[in-house]
């Protein structure tokens, strides 16, 4: 394994440990006893105490932290205080929605952004460029949840083409599931796509100014060929960095969007669990989100090494 990748792995692990510590400490400071919440307002004090012991909330901080980490490592996330079911299965149920949603949103983002970005760069300063870029300016300025609301108004209520929200699950057919995630995915994607399109455009323009582009032209390659065979791969580096960062935004966006479309995804689970003081769920969900973000950025970094020969990968 190359030193480059090894270094990234080490920092990845360190970041995850740091994240777990912060998440644990912050959530531990939450007011409102989980046991009290679960038992309801009229529970007797010793019933609450009994539950506290049962949930293991009486243990010292460090012990609980280590237990949690140990559980994480063996895949045992404990049981939800509220639902009584295993947190892992609870999260798994939600991931069935959030992961496809994120993938759909990211796919739409990337498709829209690359198309628009490359088109505008290739038509620099022409009418198409100006038009598309003005659209992206507006796209960036739209709050995604507002855009979502407008989409619901149009497609679900006026036209009745798509469902206004909710998620029917994948059992009734992939298409139904995709249909119910389409509007949320689009509203998540539009803003991100606008940003990414701009990044793509300027990255392509930047590369077009490079000397090697002129060299390629001097070999007799047409503008189009140069764009596809010489420019894009170079331009992908900044585009990928931003894509990695957008993934974090996208996950954050799902928290809001899942609330607009009442989708039972991870974001909503966090939201509800905090309201219910189902801390064990919150902690694991937040950790999961943080892990996803960190891993995506790690993957982006390693991908650089594949795309860009200047980063050593020989014994990867």
């Amino acid at each position: 394994m190359s030193v480059f990748v090894l270094r990234r792995v080490v920092t990845l692990l360190a970041t995850l440990v740091g994240a777990s510590l912060i998440i644990f400490l912050v959530l531990d400071a939450l007011p409102g006893n989980a046991a009290q919440m679960l038992m309801g307002a009229d529970a007797s004090a010793d019933a609450v105490r009994a539950l506290t012991v049962k949930l293991g909330l009486d243990q010292p901080l460090a012990v609980r932290y280590l237990q949690w980490i140990k559980g994480l490592l063996v895949g045992d996330l404990g049981n939800s205080y509220v639902y009584g079911t295993s947190v892992a299965s609870l999260i798994a149920e939600r991931l069935v929605l959030t992961v496809p949603l994120a993938i759909m949103a990211m796919t739409i983002t990337v498709t829209l952004a690359l198309t628009a970005g490359i088109y505008t760069a290739a038509n620099h300063n022409r009418l198409g460029d100006v038009g598309v870029m003005s659209l992206t300016q507006i796209g960036i300025a739209l709050p995604n949840f507002w855009f979502a609301v407008l989409l619901v108004l149009l497609f679900a209520v006026r036209l009745q083409w798509l469902s206004a929200g909710g998620f029917s699950g994948w059992e009734d057919g992939i298409w139904l599931g995709v249909k119910s995630l389409l509007l949320p995915a689009i509203s998540l994607a539009v803003v991100q796509a606008a940003i990414l399109a701009r990044v793509t455009r300027s990255a392509v323009l930047e590369v077009l100014r490079e000397d090697f582009v002129r060299t390629a032209r001097a070999k007799g390659l047409g503008k189009r060929e140069v764009l596809w065979s010489h420019v894009l791969r170079n331009a992908m580096i900044p585009v990928m960095t931003v894509m990695g960062l957008q993934f974090a935004n996208l996950l954050a966006g799902t928290i809001v969007i899942e609330n607009v479309f009442y989708l039972p995804g991870l974001g909503r689970l966090i939201f509800q669990s905090i309201a219910n003081r189902d801390l064990i769920v919150v902690r694991n969900c937040v950790m999961l989100l943080a892990t996803m973000v960190v891993i995506v950025n790690f993957v982006v970094d390693v991908l650089y090494a594949f795309i860009d020969p200047r980063i050593k990968v020989h014994d990867l």
Binding site: M1, S2, V3, L6, K312, H314, D315
Partner: protein
Amino acid sequence: MTAVPLLDVKDLEQRYALPRESLFRPPGQVRALNGVNVQVAAGRSLGIVGESGSGKSTFARLVMALERPTSGQVALLGRDLNRISADELRRTRRDFQMVFQDPYGSLDPRQTIARIVAEPLTVLEGADRATFGERVAAALRQVGLRGADMEKYPHEFSGGQRQRIAIARALITQPKLIVADEPVSALDVSVQAQVLNLMQDLQEQFGLSYVLISHDLAVVDYLCDEVAVMYLGRIVEQGRPEDLFEHCAHPYTRALLEAVPRARAGGGRRRRGSQAIASQSAATTGCPYVVRCPLADQHCREALPALRKVGEGHLAACHRAEAVMALPPAAVEG
């Protein structure tokens, strides 16, 4: 007179670690400087030539105490720059200043000329800008600019003028030594001449010493009393320019001289032997130039030649220096 030399460099070595490429191999090293000894007497100028990557700039940075050497010492007027306190070093800096290659990059674009030129003073004497005004104006006049230019910004000047500003900045503390790393190589031929003339004038006027780094032999020849030729972090030949260029004693110097194109009628093309480029990190036992040397023999491959005297004030690190000197002189432009 056994006066203390202005600059005394002893056994200077500098290595840089290359980024680690593999876990299982130690990181590579670049031996940028490989035991350099040199002295510069007050009022005399040293020119350093050599190909790209031979360690010229590294040498300049070490002389300016911008980096700590791996080993060896740099003494200015007898004080070892790496031994004295940070505070003392700052005060000592009054005596040696630097001029850089890139006239566009060496001036802070956000500062006025007055601030740029006064920079060495503000470090030494605090930020009392008012009293600096006169001195800045004087320094600017010395390099042929007007005092009125003080409130302008670098982008309002041409490359040649900027290099004058950089020289004014170096002059303002009235230093004894100016280290100039390729001061004219970024300038156009017609402007280059102006700056070179200026540097010569200043040397005459103030008795300055230059350590002048260049890859252009003619520039060094024009300005220096003594020339050192560097190759792969070592000085391979040293001496007065006329000795060096007329009776060079190292095959590398000769290759350099032969490579200089001659601007004259009927120049015609001269063949140069194709040469491999030696590696810097591989530590060979023999002469580092052996791969490119047309005269190399078995001895050269086995023993590292030391710098030795081959004539009056003329040193060379070559086992076969005499053979080289015996060759017909490389045609020199007249």
